[in-house]
Amino acid sequence: MSKLRDSLAGKLTAMNMLVSGGALLLAAISFFTYEILTFRANMTTNRTVEAQIIGANSVSPLIFNDPAAAEKTLSALRASKHIVYAAIYTNDGTFFAGYWRDSNSKAPLPLSVLKTGEQERHWFGDDQFSLVQTIMFEGKPVGMVYICSDLQALYDRFKSYGLILLGIVGASLVAALALSRIAQRVISKPILRLAETARFVSREKDFRARVPTTRDHDEVAVLVNAFNEMLIEIQKRDSALQESERQFRSLADSIPQLAWMGEATGELFWYNRRWYEYTGTTPQQMLGWGWRSVHDPAQLPAVMEKWKRAIETGEPFDMIFPLRGADGTYRDFLTLASPVRDDKGNVARWFGTNTDITEQRRAEEALRQTEKLAATGRLAASIAHEINNPLEAVINLVYLARKQPENARKYLELADQELERIAQITRNTLGFYRDSSSTKEVDISEVLGEVIALYWRKIQFKKISVRPDYGNGIKIVGFPGEIRQIFANLVANAIEALSAEGSLVIRASRVTLRDGSNRAGVRVTFLDNGTGIAPENRKKIFEPFYTTKKDVGTGLGLWLTLQLVEKHHGSLRVRTSVEPGRSCTVFSVFLPERPQTV
């Protein structure tokens, strides 16, 4: 049965056999029915004729009451071997004479009486046919004939017909089987080959296979051609896909970054060659969550937390963390990962890269050092200027005092003033170069006073009015030189921004932050009514190398200032307006009472 279900050929054969067998059966039934009806009609006719003959010959024995003569007439029935019993009855139904085929059981059978006016009746009983007929003489009934015959003839005929039919059916079925085999070759074979090819393609994933075509133009041929064309199309797409995959891999292998792909669940299943080269791992080690083994154990929990959050939200991931190289040392990588979404917008997979930023960080650090040196150099130059000028004056005054002894006292007093100027400058500026490796108590108002003194000449020249608005004794713990530099940069910026006769208001006060941290510290604001900062520049002013003063600035001042503020765990904000007549800029520095211990 299962074979029948699995095979189209079996189904076709079974169908053929069923149709042939059914047709034969229908024919046989019709034939048999006809035979029965014919047989019955013949038997009725034969028995009726026989009954009439016997009746005609029995009139005189009945009239003359001669049963022996009647029996003699009846015995003639011996020639008809199917008649089992025949008898003559008088008009009132009394047995008159009889015939029995089997002479051992000579008993008269009861006569079923005819109804009034009925001349004849016949019926088929169990294995028997019975007939009763009235014997007429001169229009009047004189007696009755009763004939009973068996149906053996019918059975014999059935038996022989059955055998013949069986032979015909058998032969027909054999012929049908042979014919269906031929039909299969035409119909089922192409379909079987189609099925075989489909099985092969799905098993081997080899889209080069083709179904052999026939010269037919039927539906099967159309199906075969369509299937082959589909295979050609799939083969094309498959090779295009493989080509695209090859290109992607060679691209991914040629980029300097480490690259990888992950499932929507966060497990990674593919890495580019550089990943394996850098980490010195094998694909087996890296499967699933294997990537965790090249992370710094101290930082892994933070990475996992952020990665899991990205997986949950489907938001792009970016983070800087170290990865262990094949040589066992860690290098810093900037890691970016983006979700790749399917048609429905669900995250199908993740694609990520790790960019080695160790060198970049070193370069930045070197740049910071260079900038510190450059700033030191500039400061040294301006200090030199501040010292060399009074020195020039002192030398001149001493020369004059020597040449003009009478005016020596006046010259030496002037020289003394100039020397005091030099002393003042060195006192103020040397603060910048004190060892800043340790924190100490810094008096904010004192530092601000020194910074203003440093720029006093510039302030005076531009006729800038500086209004200090702070009390004494505001102290925090920090690096004195750096705090001085923060204030010096902001004051210098304000002076640059101000035109002649502008004003600079410096305020300093103790504050407690209301940002939830409740940190206590000092806020120092520098308000100038200069030109303000144009909106397009506001975002960039804290970037290194950004300057609007190309001839005098390096573009590192505010960037360095921010670095120093952040080193103190403080914050630096700017508010500015360029509205004509009301333009101004406020730099606001918050420095905590003491830097947090790291």
């Binding site: 301006s382 030199a384 020039e392 030398i395 004059l400 003009q404």
Partner: protein
């Protein structure tokens, strides 16, 4: 600090009177046919935004027998040069307004024979010199502090040692 923004020459000293003449000899002493010293005093224009420097240099030069004028801004110096025709310009470099190099170039237009001597307390003047060189001007800058004897020697025409 005394500043002179109007361009007028202001001395920080009381008047010391005319310098002794002729003191230790001047660069412009020439013998005429009669053998007499015909003295034409050399004119030196001193510019420095630090008045004390301009004033002391002027005082020293006067003592040495020069005709010297001190000013604290470039514009006032150029104005004066138009009438006074200095022989030597001695100027600071980094100053508010016109810098020493700009003053030097202007003075050379007004008085082509005028020698220009620049002195500066700062080393960061390389860019300014380069800028001047591109415009066809060559200047040397002396470093402050400079000893008066050396300065006098230079003005008299000796090359700096």
């Amino acid at each position: 600090m005394i500043m002179d923004l109007q361009g007028a020459s202001v001395s920080v000293f009381p008047s010391f009177g005319e310098p002794v003449y002729p003191p230790g000899g001047s660069s412009h002493e020439r013998l005429d046919a009669d053998g007499e010293l015909e003295m034409k005093r050399m004119r030196v224009l001193v510019v420095d935004d630090e008045a004390i420097i301009a004033d002391t240099v002027v005082e020293i030069l006067k003592q040495e027998g020069f005709d010297a004028e001190g000013l604290s801004t470039g514009t006032s110096a150029i104005e004066l040069a138009k009438e006074w025709h200095p022989d030597v310009l001695l100027s600071d470099v980094i100053m508010p307004g016109l810098n020493g190099i700009e003053i030097g170039m202007k003075i050379r237009e007004i008085a082509p024979k005028c020698r220009v001597i620049l002195f500066s307390g700062q080393a960061a003047t390389v860019d300014l010199l380069e800028q001047a060189r591109r415009q066809g001007h060559k200047f040397d800058i002396l470093a402050k502090p400079i000893r008066p004897e050396q300065l006098i020697g230079l003005i008299k025409g000796k090359s700096p040692s």
